[in-house]
């Protein structure tokens, strides 16, 4: 297990290298010129050329990649073209709101989602199942940005219960976490329901029942534990998706997080920031995957780790 873990962690290094190259090529190959964005529209051709030269954009692409890689190895992510601040400093500043948001969204949606899923599966075909699945389906059917705007209108503007956005108090996080978590809650509810149903139909559950164990115990100890495998996969998959979701949510709720930084930087062709962020997201995603894979083994003894 320990060796497996070390092997997997070391295995991510070449992966990250490949990703860093892909990201670099992607950002430099898509149309766009950060120099024009930096200099503004009124800049003359000569001014643009001066700026291009001083930024090192006239060097061959491979040289630019190697100097980027060199900086990266030395822990230097570069300076943002847009704000002239160090990229690492900007990212740290933006990480906090996104982490908080993701945490709250994951927390409530996991609890509520699994609860709905299990309750629905146990009460299959009854009203409670029906209600649960309706909530779940609504959760994935509603466009997040739309829900966010509507909730701002109702709870902030009309009722004045919570701020429209920002990150000043804990109350600022209520609406965005609800909006962001909706999708996961729904997906979790559906998945935990279907995998619970699977487990409930399995032989070992029937056996447990036949042995006369209490129903609640059967559900929790046998069925639920086994359905966790798929559920954990889904949570893992969805946390990566949360960052994408947070792009829209952070815009709607005026939260200066990583998602918005990414979209804004991409629009500005702020290469250094986009590269750093994409690399960070990739790393984060790989890490989560690794954890999911390891949990697999812990939760389902039928899958053995090599």
């Amino acid at each position: 297990m320990g060796r497996y873990f070390v092997k997997r962690v070391l295995g991510t290094i070449p992966l990250l290298l490949v990703i860093s190259f892909l990201i670099f090529m992607f950002i430099h190959l898509i149309p766009g010129d950060p120099v024009r964005n930096m200099a503004g529209r009124e800049a003359t051709t000569e001014e643009l050329e001066n700026l291009r030269e001083s930024m090192g954009f006239n060097k061959p692409l491979y040289q630019q990649y190697f100097s980027y890689l060199n900086d990266l190895v030395h822990g230097d992510l570069g300076i943002s073209y847009k704000t002239k601040l160090p990229v690492s400093e900007m990212m740290i500043g933006r990480l906090k709101p996104t982490l908080k948001l993701t945490f709250f969204a994951t927390l409530w949606s996991t609890i509520v989602g699994i609860a709905i899923g299990v309750l629905s599966a146990v009460n299959r075909g009854k009203l409670i199942d029906y209600l649960g699945m309706l909530i779940a389906i609504s959760g994935i059917s509603i466009p997040g940005f739309w829900l966010g705007l509507v909730m701002i209108q109702i709870f902030s503007v009309k009722l004045g219960w919570v701020p429209t956005g920002g990150l000043d108090t804990w109350r600022s996080y209520i609406l965005p976490s609800i909006t962001l978590g909706c999708g996961i809650m729904a997906i979790l509810a559906r998945f935990s329901r279907s995998s619970m149903l699977d487990s409930l139909g399995e032989d070992y559950v029937r056996t447990a029942r036949a042995k006369g164990q209490r129903e609640r115990l059967v559900i929790l100890r046998h069925a639920f534990r086994n359905s966790l495998v798929q559920v954990v996969t889904v949570i893992g998959l969805q946390i990566g998706g949360l960052l994408a979701g947070s792009v829209l949510i952070e815009t709607v709720f005026t939260i200066p997080g990583l998602g918005r930084l990414l979209v804004d930087s991409l629009a500005f062709r702020d290469y250094k920031v986009v590269q750093a962020l994409l690399l960070f997201f990739s790393f984060e995603y790989i890490l989560i995957n690794l954890i999911v894979d390891l949990l697999y083994g812990v939760l389902n003894p039928r899958i053995r780790l090599k």
Partner: protein, 292 residues
């Protein structure tokens, strides 16, 4: 082999099985209703332009943001165009994009996922690291990147949404395959000397179909929403042609003064996704071999 599914049965038997599944499916009223709703949407998609009461692109600058009334049942939009007509005509674009992209993504993802799960080793590593890379990028950003590279347009949006559908199918099918692989009947098949390809496509693949159907229906909803999000960020298929997602996105600017511009396309998206999900559930219960 009682728990295997209908696909490996001889054709004659399959007919009677089909009947059985139909009968079983029709017992589930919600699924039937969902199917009917989807059929209605398909009808709109085909005959939308014929049944639309107005020309969906005809502007009326004297009737901007008109509230729903006897003439314009769903009101008029920011150019005074009839919202109902635009929704009817837009069905084709909206459903077309999501269905096409999920079909493409599912086909590729399933193939890769089953292969990876069954064979393991190097194939597994390549497929999974590949989908790791795809997955590591936030969905929407990946779609934006693809549209940015290959340019805007309806086919490119389909490709973009399809690409980020692939890894989710690959992963889920892989894990489904993994859990089936170690089950008794597969081991039995292997022990009687079945070829890998036969075990893979005759024994394992059919038993992963239900996972695929659940994921498939959910991805259709996701795809509709993804297309809408792309529109929201300005990367939609086509701005001047009617499309639910585009209507919803542009309508958000008028939420306060003309809520019907947000309300109706939103509701339609909602109903469509709901219908696909209910249908998926129905199919799942019908096809699930363990619940026969």
């Amino acid at each position: 082999m009682q728990t295997s599914t209908f696909i490996d049965q001889p054709i004659k038997k399959a007919e009677s099985r089909a009947k059985y599944y139909f009968r079983k499916f029709f017992q589930r009223k919600t699924a039937v209703i969902a199917a009917v709703i989807i059929l209605i949407f398909l009808f709109f998609a085909i005959f939308g332009p014929q049944i639309a009461p107005f020309d969906p692109s005809l502007p009326d600058y004297d009737n901007l943001y008109g509230a729903p009334d006897a003439v314009h049942w769903f009101g008029t939009d920011e150019f005074g165009r009839d919202v109902l007509s635009r929704l009817l005509v837009g069905t084709r674009n909206s459903l077309g994009v999501s269905l096409a992209s999920v079909l493409i993504g599912a086909a590729i993802g399933t193939f890769l996922g089953v292969l990876a799960g069954y064979y393991g080793g190097i194939i597994d590593s390549i497929v999974m690291r590949g989908s790791d890379i795809l997955f590591a990028m936030p969905d929407i950003l990946l779609a934006i990147a693809i549209v940015a590279i290959i340019g805007p347009g309806i086919i490119n949006v389909v490709i973009a949404v399809a690409v980020f559908t692939i890894p989710s199918f690959a992963r889920i099918m892989r894990s489904a395959t993994l859990s089936v692989k170690s089950s008794l009947y597969v081991e039995a098949a292997r022990s009687i000397g079945c070829k890998n390809s036969r075990i893979l496509w005759v024994h394992i693949f059919p038993s992963t179909v239900q996972s695929m159907i659940v994921n498939f229906t959910m991805r259709i909803g996701t795809a509709i929403l993804a297309a809408a999000s792309l529109s929201f960020l300005g990367y939609g298929a086509k701005v001047d042609e009617p499309d639910w997602g585009a209507m919803l996105s542009s309508g958000r600017n008028y939420l306060d003064i003309a809520p019907h511009l947000v309300y109706f396309p939103g509701l339609l998206i909602f109903i469509a996704v709901l219908a696909f999900n209910l249908l998926g559930d129905g199919l799942r219960d019908t096809l699930d071999p363990k619940l026969k």
